[in-house]
Amino acid sequence: MQELQLQKANQQLLLKLSAVAVLMFGFGFALVPLYNLFCDITGLNGKTGQVSVTEARNTTIDMSRSITVRFVTTSQSELPWEFKPLADKITVHPGELGKVNFSIKNMADHAITAQAIPSLAPTKVSKYFNKTECFCFSQQTLQAGEEIIAPVHFIIDPAAPKDISQVILSYTFFKSTKG
């Protein structure tokens, strides 16, 4: 009798603990959205915000200070694309809509799809840096030899820390794994 009871208790504990293990396996995957959420909130890893154009228009401009935004581009060496900003840097007031164009050219003799990954430095700027338009929101496909001019519109929140005077906005083009 006692033996049976013990066996049952052991089986139940086995089930419960296995459930915990399965749950933790799931938690491993849940770390992915949790991490992204965490990044959105803290601006870690340069994930910048996206705001609508109307929202951007309604922001008051802080004329008392200005911030220089420098553009840095990289295209991975396995990707034969020429990728550069048409202006190296621009200076904007917080709350003012900044506009810059990038030229992207496919040097290869065949069509290639790629995705641009944005990154911002210093990281503490990220949550105050919002884009209204960016080619980095989606994958780009360029035909052989095709060149496009891609705009980026952004706005820096006037609430951004006062000690920020220089911002680096970087894009890296990665050859897309899909397609």
Binding site: L6, A9, N10, L13, L14, L17, S18, V20, A21, V22, L23, M24, F25, G26, F27, G28, F29, L31, V32, Y35, T42, G43, L44, N45, Q76, Q115, I117, T123, K124, T172, F174, K175, S176, T177, K178
Partner: protein, 527 residues
Amino acid sequence: MSTATAHDTAHDHHGPPAGLSRWLFTTNHKDIGTLYLWFSFTMLLIGGAMAMVIRAELFQPGMQIVDPNFFNQMTTLHGLIMVFGAIMPAFVGLANWLIPMMIGAPDMALPRMNNWSFWILPFAGTLLLSTLFMEGGGPNFGWTFYAPLSTTYGPESTDFFIFAVHLLGMSSIMGAINIIATILNMRAPGMTLMKMPLFVWTWLITAFLLIAAMPVLAGAVTMMLADRHFGTSFFNAAGGGDPILFQHVFWFFGHPEVYIMILPAFGIISQIVPTFSRKKLFGYSSMVYATASIAFLSFIVWAHHMYTVGMPVAGELFFMYATILISVPTGVKVFNWVATMWRGALTFEVPMLWALAFIFLFTLGGFSGLMLGVTPADTQYHDTYFVVAHFHYVLVAGALFSIIAAVYYWLPKWTGHMYDQTLAKIHFWWSVISVNILFFPMHFLGLAGMPRRIPDYAIQFAEFNQLASIGGFAFGLSQLLFLYILIKTIRGGEKATDKVWEKPEGLEWTVASPAPYHTFATPPQVK
């Protein structure tokens, strides 16, 4: 506990079956414990042989023996095999042998699963080692297998590595579940939680860490597999994934893993020191609480492995404060051991020697750990030989020394024979001196600027590398002496008494030596 001797002899009426099938189909906790320990020792020698290759290549500057790619495979497999093949299975083996006897249980709670969780290991180990012979070579991306080096840029054999990690993880999780069920359900009447020996306590907490951490590792390698073959982009920037995410997931497992390898060691030392001090363990309950708080803290410090990835300052500060905080409960443990010895009546038998070496050398490893926890200073220490020195002090002079101490402490109980103590003392002095010659110079190398995981180095690092290599060869050789001592003891020797030592505490000393095949079929009454 002198009354308990009556229980054991009555129940050894059916002994083990003979031959190979005894080991293949066994559900006996002592047999399985033995299997685990031998498996772990085999892996220690294989992983050690790889370390010898590494130290031989690093003996002098210039490339003499292996090419850089093979060197990377050696460092990777050395790390994986020592962590998952040597240290962890050794602790599980000790748990199998000792926990049922310490809590007065007849066997583990789930004996058949116990068999299974062991027999997965040889297959996983063989699978992992077989990658060395595959085209393109074995895993060469370090035991931390950071993406994208291990995903987009990994060799073909990475899939086998992933499968092996899955198997090792399953084995550990099953072992952990079994240990928890045994401790929670199988204690003899009167054996309340706060009466349990500390080895049992530390293992209970370790088992919970395993169940929480190992599945996250399984998740990480599953995501890797999906990235490699199913077109997902968890860690691949090209598809919108994030290589830093990999590090967060890995270290969320990896830091608790570090404590999985050291908490049972704390338990072992807490068993040995009181015996040879002839005094009760100082601060039993604070030991339990300290272990629990270390376990808790281990889940919120993972990013201290990532100070240089470019985290926001707030994150770095949080992880720095949490990390250095761990030194408080760890310090409590060391102070308690010292207080246990204080005004005791000390003798220095072999297990005590190893335990003392553990306390000295683990504390040194703890000091360098505190230094590493300080974020700005870690800018200079990170990924250098200073880190290599630190974790070898805690894992070799810490975890491995505690395992050897445990073997010398309980071996007479297991085999019924006292080992050759002169040889064992030679083994001790040989090991403790060589391990310091091996790892201490690495502190200097790291501070002077030598990065880790490099197959060749600049001339100014030559002397200390040579010294470390000499220590390494000596340390490796000393473990062969250990093997000889073990075999000699199993085959015969002076008959050990039931208590073995003068005044040991615990139920395991109330049964005969060697411990009968079945113990405590009728539970003992604990006062």
